[in-house]
Homo-oligomer: 261 residues x 4
């Protein structure tokens, strides 16, 4: 059993993490941390029955001897928490974003010196990370590729960040190539989508949709399609659980879930 | 059994029609017509075993008493052929395009006077016509809709003619509505596709693909998608067979396969 | 504006209906009904700001003069409520299931005498009803069809009720036909799915999925696919809203949302 | 430029290979081989303009100094051809199936001694091989997976060989797990598909379809889908071209295209 503490356990991500750890057969929730908590035990909060101490200070957490420190706090707190965890030989698993390059470098260096594993990741969706890895691999063999990303109609930006990151990753291995017929013509502007080094990206926005992406490759007489569907915030928890199990075997902090897959 | 003759039987469409009629349990091929044919029987041509007379003049065709006249000739010939068929009480099924409005009006009028059914259709793909009909029906209830059409990368124009026709049909019943978030922003131009009265159309072009279209509707908490895949020219033959069976019961020529579905 | 009252407004469906009516531009919520409610106004309940009277008796509801009576109560109450609404010339829109054949017949008869419209429907998902209607229509032309239905892995029965209903509807218009190659062989039992009059049904169960169904037709050289995705209970509300707007123009109660589409 | 000879150039696969090599910018067709050919040059055959010698004996082929020996002959000939190529320091790329374990072992051993690369592959579709590799990788993280394979309705066996191979590859890395709800019930036998170590396989057979496979993973709140569509025999040529370019850099014959990806 891996002993886990969770900082920021009252937020959306943190409370989802609490539920995940409580249900997970190989993880044990030994404590949770929130500097403003009024409760002293998780079972005082509605919806929880587990007997888990709630602490307001980092030092108290040490008494419960966690192996892993899950952190879904705010940027101003997360760096300090992560440093604290490393110094006390607790492997951090951090979903808070907003670390500076210098902070990341310092945390990697220090964790390496102490041989403590850890992970800071902007995205814990295992499926999304695999989709991007597979797309990069396939782009080595199929230079003709288009991305169709589909989201709910409250999304403001198009293409999505994931689509752009996928295109960047494919561009690293793909020979630059303008796709489609050289003389193709748009009867209505925009029909052929956004152009990213010759790859086309199409952004669909419809009510009902959540977050979906399809990377579609074409070759002579064949097609290869990789699709990720995200239905719910809880999708991130597969990655958090995986990280808890893997960081304890690492000897340095890494950035990005792809390093654990 | 419905007796069928085929004009233009040596062309791509015509020869596919010959094969379809020969195999069809309820159709009988009684003759074929080509003014430049050197053969006098179909079985002189490689690939055919059936004993079917080949004629070079329209008048000879009458001796085989067809019920239906399939016509896949060229525009300059098709009007004359269609008129001839109607006058001789043979129901025409015509896939040749390029009739003028006046020609269509005249053929409809004359067929009505003689109570002869018939069909002229630019598209015989039953699946494609059903897709458009279903899309029009769904657009009454779901004003949020995007079209994704996917074709081989030798196609020059985007969006495809079928996509534009589908959008036009939906626009007839759909309240004009600008889709997506009112403040949405394209980080790369074209990401949100072509705009047709607020509906978005995305054109994918990849090697390997043939001709595909997906009409995707979104509503609160749900999605409805209608997709047609055309893999092969032979797809048109389902519609030609259906037309042969239906025109004999009509009492006037109609334009568009949708009138028979 | 159509004036609406909602019986059973505290349940899952009822409270979703309250939110829908409050947001809808053409519907006005004039009262809500629950025999055990302790509140006298909706704004006493957390999450609501609207000033809407809460009643404990049907008779009080009449004082707010509703045009439509939405009912998401329990079977033992719903029949009495629906009768009451009809007698007082309020058009019922009822999502409660469990009416007997006799009750339905009586309600239809009485509503017809009074020229009051109404709807009782086991399923308010417009997209699902359209999918079934389209599938039935397509089955007239494409006898080769398979259903793939995909649900979360907590679902106990396979195939789903919707899949069976879809197959039944297609069987009404489709010539019975054993699909696949006559000599096809299952190397592992069950590969070819469940057989329903020659049509095959495949049930996929995976975590993450919600409720999805794909009806896939094949013809010579082409394919036609109709897919419905249900992401959320709120999907039913499109149908409830539509029903409120349509029943006021009917002169008899009908059973099944398909009668309004 | 890599010099290529093709044995079995008149067969379906062989003639497709001839066309591919003739068009490929980095491959040069120096000769073709068929023991029963009556022509002495490819340009005597209709459809070819290229000036390429046609040989009837293996020894003559050596005069054209090929780097790569493509072999799409019959099993009884392919082993001898492959041995001959290796002995003469020509890298074989062999699509003929039916080698025995002993023959494969012998060819690997001898090619290793001579430091000659080569490939024998039952399947040259790059997209299909990538699909299987990606599925295996994803199965490490998502134990819940179902395969839907879709083929034309002339296919006799279900599931397809590719589906079974994919399932075997996933079983190597996936913890055995019975999927779906433990108490799930089939209302019609076969609904939940074929069972392969707890994974479900569904075989769809419809006219119009060619050869398609979808591997669908489900996790908490997310889904990952990998799909391959094979539209045409020519799809194999991407793999043959790739093999010609890669085998010249190998120092031993390998079995299976996956070793080159």
């Amino acid at each position: 059993m891996i002993k886990v503490t969770i900082a920021g356990f009252k937020g959306k991500m943190g409370s989802t993490a609490v539920n995940m750890v409580l249900k997970h057969a190989e993880l044990e929730l030994v404590s949770v941390l929130d500097p403003f908590a009024k409760e002293t035990n998780l079972n005082e909060l509605s919806g929880y029955e587990a007997d888990v101490p709630v602490f307001r200070s980092k030092e108290e957490v040490l008494t419960t001897k966690p192996d892993v420190w899950i952190d879904f706090t705010i940027p101003s707190v997360a760096y300090e928490n992560t440093s604290f965890a490393i110094e006390h030989r607790i492997a951090p698993v951090v979903g808070t974003t907003g670390f500076t390059e210098e902070q990341l470098a310092e945390l990697k260096k220090r964790s390496g010196e102490l041989k403590i594993g850890g992970l800071i990741a902007p995205n814990f969706a295992v499926g999304a990370v695999l989709m991007m890895q597979f797309a990069k691999k396939a782009a080595e063999y199929f230079p003709d590729v288009e991305i169709i990303e589909l989201h709910h109609d409250n999304k403001l930006d198009a293409p999505s960040g994931t689509a752009l990151k996928t295109a960047e990753m494919m561009a690293e291995v793909r020979d630059a190539k303008k796709q489609g017929h050289p003389e193709e013509e748009e009867l209505i502007e925009g029909a052929r989508g956004a152009d990213f080094e010759g790859m086309k990206i199409h952004s669909v926005r419809l009510p009902g949709l959540i977050a979906h992406q399809q990377v579609q490759f074409g070759g002579i007489g064949e097609g290869l399609t990789i699709r990720h569907d995200s239905y719910d915030r809880s999708s991130f928890m597969t990655g958090v659980a995986l990280a808890c199990q893997k960081v304890v075997a690492l000897d340095q902090l890494v950035y990005g879930l792809e390093n654990l897959l």
